[in-house]
């Protein structure tokens, strides 16, 4: 596939697309599907056929439109009208109404902050293209970044562009992506690998899942560009098996890309060879940790090993390996096309670009959003998220999953970036945000996350294996009103041990939910204490 052929496909596709007067895009990502978007799509197709409109109106399955709370969502592309909570029986009036005024009953307003305040880079194609057709991705400019890289840029130029962009790893730790790429590029070894970490496991997080279900080719393109930059010929995507739809769409995308010559040997008519394989995670959270993930790909037990050596030097089968998260790879193509400087112009001083967040918990607009780094928590939760339902008070937002912490109301005006969240005792993490109202008991929140870490600990190192279990016991004891002040001191001491002596990130960050709730909601712990016997 040469750049000219890409252009040709894009043109044919655009023409085919423009032939239709109307386009009804039905969200076919996991959220809307679970609300039976598939039935809606079938009904719409039948209705269009029954009315003899099949040459004027296209019904298309697309990816996530973001407002999962109001699914199934259907969007009329011509005027941008969005319909929410559509049922199969709504198909007739919807088709009837095409080209007329929007149906008031089902219309979802798009002039609200949820849609207006977002800035989409990673999700720019989500909800617009059909994730199961490579041609639709090519229509909106897909794979031109790969073609550009292969025909016009040297690997060094690609890495330079990534460094210039200031992109930091979206998996949670925020390591500078360009630096990682250049480290792997410099490593001396014939065999190198690129790996995409799609083992998203934080409770309440579904960013990577949405990206894979809505725009899988974007991730493949990012991986291929990375492989070219670091000198790898083989890549792996490690996806958890609990994401069957994402796996299916990824496999479809890989098959299509191979058929179109965008994966395999001699990509874009150059000498660059690159192929990809999907590997499934068998349900262990710890396999999101990079060394455990690599062990799992190698077919071994998924347990972390001490770093250094880092995967950039000793990775898969001891070869230098570049490992990035789904969202990181999804940022690559636009950076190449629009330039690192453009990307660096978005966001805050130390955190560039945008970030995808999954809003969950006690919040009106449950769903997926993308905002520039530096947006405040208040804007995210109260404007975009629409605030707390049921007239309840906001209490805290939990970011970063079991490695993160709870941020209380007094810090709502903090501009979200890697460093500001860390200062608050939480972390950016992969982008899960669980909003809690005043009915949440913070001791129980901490206990929940500790239980998660305890059951997900791989069992290799002592502080994490036994420490998390003992911390969980202490939180149970506090919750049951049987603990004393001395127990809290003992718990804080144990948190310090687990944080400083555990082998991998899972253990090192496991105490964070306890420490952050102790920092902001200590009085709740004290309220639970048993009366002390003097």
């Amino acid at each position: 596939m040469s750049p000219d052929e890409l252009k040709e496909i894009a043109q044919t596709e655009t023409e085919a697309h423009d032939k239709f007067e109307h386009h009804l895009n039905v969200c076919m990502a996991a959220g809307c599907l679970s609300a039976r978007a598939d039935q809606v799509k079938d009904a719409l197709e039948k209705e269009v056929k029954a009315k003899g409109l099949e040459h004027r109106c296209q019904v298309k399955g697309v990816g996530c439109m973001g407002l999962c709370a109001a699914g199934p969502l259907v969007q009329s592309e011509r005027d941008g009208t969005l319909y929410k909570e559509v049922k199969a029986e709504d198909a007739a009036p919807l088709v009837e109404n095409l080209g007329k005024k929007p149906l008031k009953k089902l219309q979802c307003r798009t002039d609200v902050p949820f849609f207006q305040k977002q800035e989409k880079i990673v999700l720019e194609n989500s909800g617009i293209i059909d994730p199961e057709r490579i041609e639709d991705y090519i229509r909106v400019g897909g794979y031109t970044a790969l073609a550009k890289v292969l025909t016009e840029m040297s690997p060094g130029q690609v890495t330079d562009e990534m460094i210039k962009s200031g992109l930091r790893g979206r998996g949670g730790a925020g390591f500078p992506t360009g630096l990682k790429w250049s480290t792997v590029a410099k490593a001396q070894n014939g065999q190198k690998y690129v790996v995409c970490n799609a083992d998203e496991g934080d409770p309440g997080a579904f960013m990577d899942r949405s990206v894979l279900e809505s725009d899988p080719h974007r991730v493949l393109e990012g991986l291929a560009i990375a492989a070219y930059a670091v000198g790898a010929q083989q890549g792996y995507i490690y996806v958890r098996a609990e994401y069957p739809l994402a796996v299916e769409r990824l496999n479809t995308a890989i098959r299509q890309a191979r058929r179109r010559g965008l994966l395999g040997n001699g990509i874009c008519g150059t000498t660059f060879n690159f192929d990809l394989e999907v590997r499934l995670g068998a349900g262990a959270f710890v396999c999101g940790e990079e060394t455990a993930l690599l062990a799992s790909i190698e077919g071994k037990r998924g347990t972390p090993r001490p770093r250094p050596p880092y995967p950039a030097e000793h990775g898969l089968w001891d070869s230098p390996t570049l490992i990035n998260n789904v969202e990181t790879f999804a940022n690559v193509a636009p950076i190449i096309l629009r330039g690192g400087a453009w990307f660096a112009g978005i966001g805050t001083e130390k955190s560039k670009g945008t970030k995808v967040f999954a809003l969950a918990g006690r919040i009106h607009n449950t769903g997926l959003i993308e905002v520039p780094m530096g947006t405040t928590l208040r804007e995210i939760i109260f404007e975009i998220g629409g605030g707390i339902p049921g007239g309840k008070e906001f209490k805290a937002v939990q970011t970063g999953g079991p490695s993160g912490g709870c941020i209380p109301a007094q810090h709502l005006d903090v501009a979200v970036d890697y460093d500001s969240l860390k200062e608050l005792g939480s972390i950016m993490g992969s982008g899960g945000m669980i909003v809690m109202d005043d009915t949440s008991d913070m001791v129980d929140v901490a206990r929940y996350f500790m239980e998660f870490c305890m059951t997900e600990s791989c069992g290799k190192c002592v502080p994490c294996r036994v420490g998390t279990a003992q911390l969980h016991n202490m939180l149970l004891k506090i919750g049951a009103g049987q603990a004393t002040r001395a127990d809290i001191a003992l718990m804080e001491e144990l948190c310090d041990l687990v944080r400083n002596t555990s082998l991998c990130g899972l253990g090192q960050t496991a105490p964070n939910p306890v420490l952050s709730t102790l920092r902001y909601f200590r009085e709740e712990y004290e309220k639970h204490l048993a009366e002390e016997v003097v």
């Binding site: 997900e456 290799k460 016991n473």
Partner: protein, 237 residues
């Protein structure tokens, strides 16, 4: 490619020392008579860095480093003993003692147990956390040996020696977190294991009473064979 190992100079506990760059802090310390507490480490087996007892402080680094897996670097200033490290070591041992049943008085390894000795040496004389006492099985199906999972601390010495030295790979791990357990072959009774050669290496390297020989009241293990084997193999090479 020739492999030339450069020599680095560093400070451990105030002493100026030197070590090859492929040596770990633990090895260099041991050569110079400085002992760092360990449980999962054994000379002759690959390092796993799992017990976290050998963590040391590096000047200028907020992170503690496992001495068994950290290679020496020029100018390192290492401290292997401090109030903080002693406290952490005591606490890690406390956690181990609460995890499973480690009642010394009725254990076959009483008096010859590495866990017991370590606890004694770091002054861990009581535990402040509740005993978890999970229900763990005892497998006495092997003709000569017994595995009592209640005494196991998951150091994986048995797993490694069986794989790396004996070459049988009878032992491995199953489950995660507190439910992690050593298994023989595909979790079948040890006595029915087709891969076990009954060599007894695992039994002699087990630091506690988890693996023991039958018909002995007091198990005095002989782990020295591993050092001999390692030396002999290297010489042959």
């Amino acid at each position: 490619m020739t492999t030339v190992s450069r020599v680095k100079t560093l400070k451990i506990d105030g002493q100026d020392l030197s070590g090859r760059e492929d040596e770990t802090i633990l090895e260099v310390a041991a050569e110079n008579g400085l002992s760092i507490p360990t449980l999962c480490h054994l000379d002759g087996l690959t390092e796993v860095g799992a017990c976290r007892l050998c963590l040391v402080e590096l000047k200028g680094s907020p992170r503690l480093l496992p001495a068994c897996t950290t290679h020496v670097q020029e100018g390192m200033e290492i401290s292997t003993d401090s109030e903080r490290l002693r406290k952490y070591r005591r606490m890690i041992l406390e956690l181990l003692f609460t995890e499973r049943n480690h009642v010394c008085s009725i254990c076959v390894s009483n008096g010859h147990c590495e866990l017991q000795k370590l606890a004694h040496s770091v002054g861990m004389d009581h535990v402040r956390y509740p005993y978890l006492y999970p229900k763990q099985p005892v497998d006495a199906s092997h003709e000569r040996f017994t595995i009592d999972h209640n005494r196991c601390i998951l150091c994986t010495r048995c797993v490694r020696v069986c794989d790396e030295v004996e070459g049988a790979h009878t032992w491995d791990l199953v489950g995660r977190g507190l439910n992690t357990r050593v298994i023989s072959d595909l979790a079948q009774p040890w006595g029915e294991s087709p891969s076990c050669t009954s060599c007894g290496k695992c039994v002699n390297l087990c630091p506690t009473g988890a693996l023991s020989a039958k018909r002995v009241a007091e198990m005095n293990k002989k782990p020295q064979f591993l050092a001999h084997l390692t030396v002999m193999r290297e010489r042959k090479r």
